[in-house]
Structure formats: C-alpha cells, structure tokens
C-alpha cells in the first residue's frame, strides 16, 4: 500500500522542494532572527513578512515519541516510532527514526539524530532521522 504523502501548498513548496533536493530548509525572520516551523509567509514571533529560507543543519535530538502498535497499513506490519525531533535551530518536527530498532532501549530521549531523506516519488522525499554521533 502506497504511503500517505503530503500535498504541498504555495507556502510550503520550498520545504518539500528542499527535501527532494536533499536539503532541510527552514525559515527565519530577517528582523527578529526567529527560526520557525512549519513554513508560512511571515514570522509567527513578530508578524514580520520579511522572512528568508535557509538550509538548516539537519541535526537535532530525539525529543519525544510513541511506538505505535495500532494498524496503519501503509506503514507496514511492525510497531514503529512516531517521533518528534528538536532541531538544533530550535523548532520541533514530527518524523520517524530510521536505522535503529524501534524499541525503548534503542530510542533514548535526547540522543543526537541527523536527517536522512527517503524518496517516495519524483516530487516528495520525507525528512526522516537516524542516530548520529554527538
């Protein structure tokens, strides 16, 4: 079964284009310097429309998660972690943790992770994360 995929909007297109091109793109305000997520055309901290897109480090820490045992056919048959990563730049982002067992023992809060893009279609790659050296 094909995985449920995002459908970009004009405000988020740069983010998904970045994922396709292997770059995690965030936005920041050029006035108050706040970095934010999800994408939008203005700064949620100061409401300025003067914002820019930049390539983030793709690094962060495992912030919180659950290991889902409920069925979701496009995610396979084994339990999997639905995780939130706190990026080095500040924002939190939902994702999956790949490249390690989906167990509480392997998934330790605050462990460093780095982004790994997984191609789904010609347009959409998902930003997943894997354990990284600190």
């Amino acid at each position: 079964m094909a995985r449920i995929l995002p459908e970009p909007t004009p405000e988020t297109q740069h983010f998904w284009d970045g994922c396709r091109d292997g770059e995690l793109r965030l936005q920041r305000c050029t006035e108050c310097k706040n970095t934010y997520f999800p994408p939008r055309a203005f700064c949620p901290s100061c409401a300025s429309r003067k914002v820019e897109v930049y390539a983030a480090s793709g690094r962060g820490v495992l912030w919180s998660y659950v290991i889902n045992h409920r069925p979701r056919p496009d995610m396979g048959t084994e339990p999997y972690a639905i995780a939130v990563v706190k990026l080095d730049e500040g924002p939190t982002l939902m994702t999956n943790i790949v490249g390690c067992p989906q167990t509480p023992e392997a998934l330790v809060l605050d462990m460093p992770v780095k982004v790994r893009f997984e191609k789904q279609t010609d347009d959409i790659s998902l930003p997943l994360f894997e354990p990284a050296q600190s």
Partner: protein
Amino acid sequence: MMQNSVAVVGAAETTKMGKIPDVSVIGLHADAALNAMADAGLKPSDIDGVATAGISPVELAHYLGIKPTYADGTSVGGCSFMLHVRHAAAAINAGLAKTILITHGESGRSRVGAGGFGRSPSSLMGQFEMPYGVTSPPTMFTIPVLRYMKTYGVTEADLANVAVVQREWAALNPRASFKDPITVDDVLNSPMIAWPFRMLMCCLVTDGGGALILTSADRAKDFPQKPVYILGTGESVETPLISQMYDFTSSTAFKISGKKAFDEAGITHADVDHLMIYDAFAHLPLYGLEDLGFCKPGEAKDFIRERNTAIGGKLPLNTNGGGLSYMHSGMYGMYALQESVRQMRGTAAAQVRDAKISIAHGVGGMFAASGTIIFTNEK
C-alpha cells in the same frame, strides 16, 4: 463574564449510554435535547438559542423545530461544549437569547450516521504529521508524554495509577461502562497501544450524548431543578499539530483557560470541592492538575498516588469514572459538564457531600484547545 448571572436549568444525558446501534448521531443529539428539555420543563418553542459541535447548529435547530435568535457552531474538539457554555453565558448577558440549548451526540462506537476522521493531504496535519504514521488520537495525544515523564521522573506505573483510581469512582456509578476494580499491574499488562500507553490508559469508545439548557439567573429560580450557576469561565486554543505544542510538559491552552476561569470566579484552589478533568488518556489528569494550579509541575503523580483525588480525598476528581471508565464517545467534554451539574444539584451517583464549587475542565483535539467552567450551587 458576570459571576452567577447565568444558570444551568436543564441537564441530561442520552437515555441509553455505551452501545446504541439503533440511534444515529443526530438522533443522539435529539434524545439528549428532549431529556434536557423535560428536565427543565421546556418545549422546543421555548428555546431561542442553540449551540453544538460535531454537527452544525443548523441541523440541530431544524431537526428539533427551533427557530433561534442565536446559534454557535464553535467546534474545537471535545471541549467545544465548555466554550458553548461560556459563549451562551455571555450571549444571555448581552440579550442575544434567553434560553440556550447546547447538545452533544456521538456514535463513537457504532458509527451510525457518523462522519469520517480524514484530513486533507494539503492541511498542516496532512503535510507534517500524517506521513509519519499517526492514525487515531492514541498515536498523537500521547506523543509529548515521554518528555514529560523524563522531565519529572514520572513512571509508567504513575500513568497506570490514574486509571486505577478512576475505576474506583466508576464502581460507584451504575451507568459506568467499566466498574470492576483494576490494579496497576492490570493496566501495565493490558495490550500495548502506543508505547508507553497500554489499553487501560486510553479512553473508552462508546455511543451517547448530553444536553444543557442555560438561562439567566433571574429566570432560573422559576424552573423545577435546583439552579447551577456559572461562576467563572475560560477558553483558549493552542495548536492543530501535537508536534508544535509550545511545551511538551504543559498545556499552554490549559493554563490560559484555567487562569481566566479562576480570575472570573474570584476563588482560590482551596475553594474547589469537586473537579472534572477531561481524561481521554491517563496523562490528561496529570497535566490538568498541574496546569490548573492544583499541583506544582511534576507533583500531580504524587498527589494522585497519595489519594487526594480518590474517594474520601480532599479533591474528588472525575467522579463519574471519567473517559477512562465511564464513557467516551469522542467529544467527552459534555459528560464532564453533566457530572459537575449533578454534583452541584446533589444528584450524582458518587455524590461529594456539601460540594459547593465544581470545575469542569476540557481539552479539545490533541492539546489543541481548552475550556474551563466553574459552577456553584450558591448565589
């Protein structure tokens, strides 16, 4: 909100509760509405304001033959009814309507005439959460909890204990879905849903409904039931995405809503005799006790373990058994309000003796919204 200027004069749940395969969603709304009107001695033609969530207030009004001067379709999840009460109180004070009916009905289990739970793939949730495998609330509402547990040293047994204590209350309630006693081990050995959450840490899925009727305090004394006055109210909204909560260890919406309600009511925590905190999952009472200010951050687990919220404790909590044991159709806030009204009328199955102030605190969505109503039976 002016203190005690508006009162609940009609309150009822659906005739049946739990598994109701022979009634549709709108039928459940109507059954609850008719029961509440009977409770208040009113007919549909006496109602001039309607509010509901799940279905449109247009559907509700026309189905019951009500031609209102006020309609509120605020729909922010399971606490929508707290917001409806708050808005209705303001509307009555402002003269927009005299007698407002608020209904809830949901075929959560049987799914008779019920809509879906789908999200557009271009919505924020569709883009930034759905692709990672979230499904139903057990896979979203629970996501912040590991961070909360690590921050405050909360254990899986602490989560389990919330369900255990609430089951003790449910045992006193003939209408509760689950009444048999359970232990912490029972909870920790129940099927895994989304680690660290086990089945008995998650709410029921049932069918049911409820309705409230509000009018001005001046008129309330002419109704058959003991009036239950609205002393204070609060509401807030936070985020449509669980991954974007401002703080994974605390609900900003709870804090804002709770503080507003306490400020309006002009009471302290020590004045509160009875408390309802919407418990879709076992962590909700922990966040609620802390964010409403009954406990310091991280101390709710101890407060519950020391039996302060249990039978005989100083702050009886979720005395109907809660969403974990009483019933949970999907938007549980109405049932929390109903239990607060019963406690203020003195008619609850597990009645708290001499209770004079009760709080019903609700959550909407997955920490998306919040509403708080403070009731009193003294004017």
